[in-house]
Structure formats: C-alpha cells, structure tokens
C-alpha cells in the first residue's frame, strides 16, 4: 500500500495490481505449493492454485476497497472522521471518565453481588490494571523497555507464599516485604543492564524474566520447583479471618456467612492496592524524581548535562516499578492460594507491556482502559473459541492504526504557571534508552 493517496481509477487499479502481485509472490510459496515428508521420508508436494488465486483476488479486491475508502475519507484522517461535535463530546467524556469509572468500580461488588464470574473477572482486570500502572513507571515514564516485568510479579508472589507458609507471617506483614524484596531484585538486576540501551535492554530484561522463572523451577528445596507452593493462607481482615468459624468476620458482625464475602474483600484489596499505585505514581510524577524519569525518556544526554545521575534515576524507576509488581504478586498469591512457575511466563510480561502501550504510554487512565479492554475483551471473545486469538489480534491492530500512540494520546504537564495544557503525544518521546 502506498502512503500517498491515490486518485483516479487507473492509480487505484495500479495500487491494487501491485498489491496483488506482492501477494502472489508471497503466497505462491506459502500457500501455492504444499510440501510434506512422505511415508519413506521423501519430499512430496502438491500445488494449490485454487487457494492461491482466491487469496490474490481477495488482496486485489481489498486494495480497491481500501483505496476507495481512503479517498472517501480524505487525507486529513481522524479530524474529518470525527466531527467536531463528537470531538468536544469526547473531551467532555474524557474529563469525567476517570471519576465515573472509579465510582462504578467502587460499586461493582454491590451491583454484581451474586455474579461470581463477574467479580472474579473484575479482580483479574484490577490485577492487570495494577501491573500496568507499575510497569508504566518503567516504560511509560522512564522510557525503559522492560520485557521481564513478570520477574518481579513472581518475586512478590513467592515472597508472600514462602514467608506465609514457612513462618506463618500474616499478609499485612508480608505485603510490604514482598514489595521491598521485588524492589531489591529490581535494583540487583538493574545494575548490570541499565548501561544498555534500547533493544539490548529489552532483550536482557526478557532474559532476566526467564532466569527468575528457571531459578524458581530448579530451586526445588525452597520453591517446590514445578509443583509450586500450595496452602498459601488467605488474607484476613486485619487479623479477623474471613471464614465460617466462630471468630470469623461474618460471625463477629452477626451476619450470615457467605463465600462471596471473601471475593468482595479481595476485590477491595486489589482496588486499594491499584489505587495506591496510581496515587504514588501521580505523586512521584510531580516530584523531581518523576520529572527526571520523564526527562530521561525525552533526552538522556541532556539529563546528564544538567547534572542528573542517569544510572540511579533509572534504577529508582526500575525499583519503583518492581515494587508495585511485587505488591501485585503478593496479592496474586493470596488470592490463588497456590502458585507455580507456570503463572510467570513471558506471556504475562508481554500482556502487561501490551496494556501499557495500548493505553498510551505514561497515561494512567489509558492504562486502566487498556487493561479493561484487553482482559475484558479477551473474555468477551471467549465464545469465538478457535478464532479468539485472531479476532483479538485484529482488534489490537485496528486500535493501533486508529490510535498509534495509545488510547490516551497526550501527556499532562506536571507543573504549570497559568494553565495546564495537554501536550500532544507527537512531541513526547518514547525513550527506550
């Protein structure tokens, strides 16, 4: 497809023809000829010209449709697509979306009291919102591409799991410890890797994520290896257990016990943790350290010329993100009651990173919306079975075409003299330095 908008029938046909030709070349080997190892190991092959022809025809037709659409919409793109009235409406929604969403979230357990499935899903979404907000500090603010974020999630989960099962420490003591341990690992892993830039940093963090998982699998005496840690205690309401016993919370309050109580407690627990992450991030952004993170994303050389120690600044970003990951991990462990290395694969890191990128890097609201769309959307497509991944991937691609800089594509300044003006994401750098 050409970037220049084509005009006239001939140029449309030309574009479509070129695209069809490319498709022919690509698909002739991928689809047109099918090879397989025969019974005695010899190579057998047969041709599928029918399928090839239909694919090429589809590309030809599709190109014409896309070119026509493009001319109809015109080169201005989004501005023309979205009428001004809708745009002003959207900015109105934008202003009240976050508070409305928060109020709705607070009311979820009331509205869906009897729907266990929705409550579970909401807890899952909130866990990813928290992870997204945590990773957002590293990727969105400091601009460090971290593909191994799941490592800190795992450290947090195992910290709580092991401390609670071995020493019987309560959740509320282990929670800060899990965060501190994860932050400690963040610093430890950060030291050697933060000299690296861009793609190299991404690959090494990816490797660290895998290393942590492999260590967990192989350090059998401590972690139980592939069998994981089971019997992790459920959280208590500040010492009062949430069960059917005589000194359980239900008995003390004099209400009838229901297993939903615990689910609702977990819901508010993860909501509180996520909001803590959000509050801390918003606060940190307005402090010198947060401004230095963003400056680092914008231009590392200029930071050093201004006397900012970029190594410690990167380390603090890494450690802060890791700490929030650790909190989320501890929550995960107490919610599941059982953890094993299988929960901490690269796929988790990729999912959380996708949430941050989709949300619009650096935007708190964007990350929350993206987590809702990704996790909730994924559930929504459950009925599609085999095609779930395909539909999901397609919708991701479409969203990224519609909003290349994420759902919330602007940056709010951290300090202002007269008026805070949103900064277009076209100006904001992505970092990865």
């Amino acid at each position: 497809m050409t970037a220049k908008p084509a005009t006239g029938t001939t140029s449309i046909l030309k574009t479509a023809f070129v695209n069809a030709l490319i498709a022919l070349v690509l698909f002739s080997l991928m689809v047109g000829i099918r090879t397989e190892a025969g019974a005695s190991g010899q190579l057998t092959y047969w041709t599928r010209f029918g399928e090839l022809a239909s694919l090429v025809a589809a590309v030809f037709g599709g190109s014409i449709v896309i070119e026509l659409l493009r001319q109809w919409i015109g080169p201005t793109g989004a501005e023309k697509l979205v009428p001004p009235a809708v745009q002003s409406g959207m900015s109105f929604i934008g202003r009240y979306l976050a508070p409305a969403l928060l109020i709705f979230t607070l009311l979820v357990p009331v509205i869906f009291y009897n729907q266990r499935y929705i409550l579970d899903l909401a807890i899952l979404v909130l866990t990813y919102v928290m992870l997204g907000w945590g990773l957002n500090v590293v990727v969105g603010l400091a601009g460090l591409l971290d593909l191994g974020y799941v490592a800190f999630y795992a450290v947090g989960a195992y910290s709580y799991g092991l401390l609670a099962t071995n020493f019987g420490w309560s959740f509320w003591i282990c929670l800060p410890l899990a965060g501190i341990l994860a932050a400690f690992w963040g610093v430890l892993l950060g030291f050697p890797v933060l000299r690296l830039r861009g793609d190299y940093l991404a690959i090494v963090t990816l490797a660290f994520g895998e290393i942590i998982r492999l260590v967990i699998i192989n350090w059998q005496e401590l972690t139980g290896g592939p069998n994981g840690v089971s019997g992790i205690p459920r959280p208590s309401f500040f010492g009062i257990p949430l069960d059917n016993s005589d000194d359980g919370l239900a008995a003390k309050l004099g209400i009838e016990y229901s297993p939903t109580h615990r689910i609702i407690f977990l819901f508010y627990l993860i909501l509180a943790l996520a909001l803590l992450t959000n509050w801390a991030t918003i606060r940190l952004r307005r402090l010198p350290i947060g401004r230095a993170w963003e400056a680092l994303r914008e231009d590392e050389v200029a930071c050093r010329a201004l006397g900012i120690n970029t190594t410690t600044t990167k380390l603090t970003a890494f450690a802060t993100g890791a700490m929030f990951g650790g909190f989320a991990g501890a929550f995960f462990a107490t919610r599941q009651g059982f953890i094993s290395p299988e929960s901490f694969t690269f796929q988790e890191s990729a999912l959380v990173l996708a949430i941050v990128v989709l949300g619009g890097m650096g935007s708190q609201l964007g990350v929350a919306l993206a987590a809702l769309a990704m996790i909730g959307g994924f559930e929504l497509f459950r009925g599609l079975e085999t095609y779930r991944m395909l539909v999901f991937g397609m919708s991701m691609v479409l969203i990224m075409i519609w909003r290349p800089r994420g759902l919330v594509g602007h940056r709010a300044p951290t300090v202002y003299l007269t008026k805070a003006k949103a900064i277009s994401s076209d100006l904001v750098k992505e970092g990865h330095g």
Binding site: A305, L306, N309, T316, I423
Partner: protein, 277 residues
C-alpha cells in the same frame, strides 16, 4: 594573559582511532568574562566542549576548573553528570537538546533536579508533602519564571518545548542551563539559525549573564557579529590546534586567522571579518 582564571586547559588532546580531533591545545578562560572559541567547520571546537563537560574522556592533557573559593577540580577525571553537578559547568548543544514533550517550565524544573532532590529528602519527604519541600518547589518555580522572563518566553511557559520556533528553543536551552546556577556556561553555537534581530537579543542576554550574574561564559560561535561584539577574549582553532588568541581587535587583524577561516582567499576573509565588526 593575567588575572583570575576559571578554566585552564593544558595540552589537551583527543583522538578518535586514527583521527586527531584536538591536539596540544592550551588556553584559559577568565572568570566573569566571555571567552570565544572560534574556527572553521571541523576545527574541533565541539570536541573541546565535550572534553570539558565530560562527554568525551580526553586522550591526554589536563582541564582545571577553579571555583570562586579557590578550590580546583580536575574535570578530566569526573564523569559528565558530576561535572554539571559538582563542578557547576553547564552547557548547551550544537543541535538543540531540549525535552520536547515537556513544557518550557518543566524543562527549567528538570534543570534544578539536584537542588529539588535534596529538598524533597530524596523523594521520601516530598511524597509526604512536607512544607519545606513545597517551599523549595515554589522557589524553583520562581527561578524558572525569572529565567523565562529574561529570555522573553514567559508567555509560553506552559507550552511544549518541542513546539517552539528555532530561536525560542535556543534561548530556552540557555535558560535551562542557567537554571543549574553554573559557574561556567558553555554555549555551542547559540546564534546558529537566528536572524539578525534575534542575534542582537542573544548578545544582550549573554552580556547580562556576564555582568549581572557574574557567570563566566565559554562560547563557540560562527556568527562573527556576536563574537566580536561580546567576547573579552578569543581563541582560534583550526585542524585541532590553536592558531591564535587575543582580543577581538587582535583576532580581526590576524592574517593567520583570516587565512584559516576562508582558506587562501584572504580578501574575501577580510571582507567577512570587517562585515562582522
């Protein structure tokens, strides 16, 4: 040259593999004066700046910075951010390096990072919102406001730096460097791309920095009108070595400089030098 030297460079050398960018270069910059470093393209001026500010590690030689209180710092032994933080040397870049996605005010706040970090108790006190930090932040905003006024950008304080016109970006970068409250300000071609009116305003700004704040300035500049008007002392480089130094008057009449600047064509060179006067 006599008097109080803030920066003295002794036999500085910088090689990149086989390329000798700077060789056997010695000169000094006086305190509270403007010293210009000029020379044709590729003479090695930016390389000298990168050595002073620690972005390059010199292959040889010594760079000494002497503070007002007499303490001396060996810059060639410090890393880049320590030179800015401890030795108080600020710089701008030949190809402007602002934080484009941050507002002008934010750019100037980032410049005050180290002072604000201390005031925020390395973030802990700041997170709790203690009043001492809030006072420090207010002072930082005041300093930034003051500089935005000085460089005539106060109306655009809340606009993203990336949206600024070229000349405005240059002035903002100088303001940002000054917000670190430096002892020595190193400017790499601040007048590049400016029109005549903007160049004149720049000269005025630099003179006020020297006279009102007493900041020493080291200036790389191709615009002879600026150099001749505001410099107290000029060092001329060509092919990595110093070929002349002296007052603007001495430099203007130096045949070696004229020859180096425009190759062999002395008449044309003389015309340029005169025009710049």
């Amino acid at each position: 040259m006599s008097g109080d030297k803030i920066l003295s460079i002794d036999r500085l050398a910088m090689r990149f593999g086989g390329i000798v960018a700077v060789q056997d270069l010695s000169f000094a910059a006086e305190r509270k004066k403007i010293t210009a470093l000029i020379g044709p393209n590729g003479a090695g001026k930016t390389t000298v700046f990168n050595c002073i500010t620690g972005f390059y590690k010199p292959s040889g030689g010594a760079i000494r910075l002497t503070h007002d209180d007499g303490t001396t710092v060996a810059l060639e032994r410090l890393s880049d951010f320590r030179i800015a933080k401890q030795a108080k040397v600020a710089r701008t870049f030949q190809n402007i390096r602002l934080f484009p996605g941050m507002t002008a005010l934010e750019n100037l706040m980032v410049a005050q990072h180290n002072a604000l970090m201390r005031a925020s108790g390395f973030t802990l006190l700041g997170l709790l919102g203690v009043p001492t930090y809030r006072d420090a932040e207010k002072r930082a905003i005041d300093l930034a406001t003051d500089w935005l006024k000085r460089v005539n950008l106060i109306d655009r304080a809340d606009d993203a730096a990336g949206n600024f016109a070229y000349g405005d970006q240059r002035r903002l970068e100088i303001a940002r460097a000054m917000c670190t409250e430096p002892a020595l300000l190193c400017l790499d071609e601040p007048a590049a791309g400016l029109n005549a009116r903007e160049s004149a305003a720049l000269s005025e700004l630099l003179l006020s920095i020297r006279d009102e704040l007493g900041t020493s300035i080291l200036l790389i500049e191709h615009d002879m009108s600026v150099v001749m008007e505001i410099s107290d002392h000029i060092v001329v480089m060509d092919h990595g070595v110093k070929i002349a130094e002296g007052t603007p008057r001495e430099i203007r009449d130096d045949p070696k400089v004229i020859a180096a600047y425009l190759g062999a064509d002395e008449e044309e060179a003389a015309a340029v030098m005169e025009g710049g006067a």
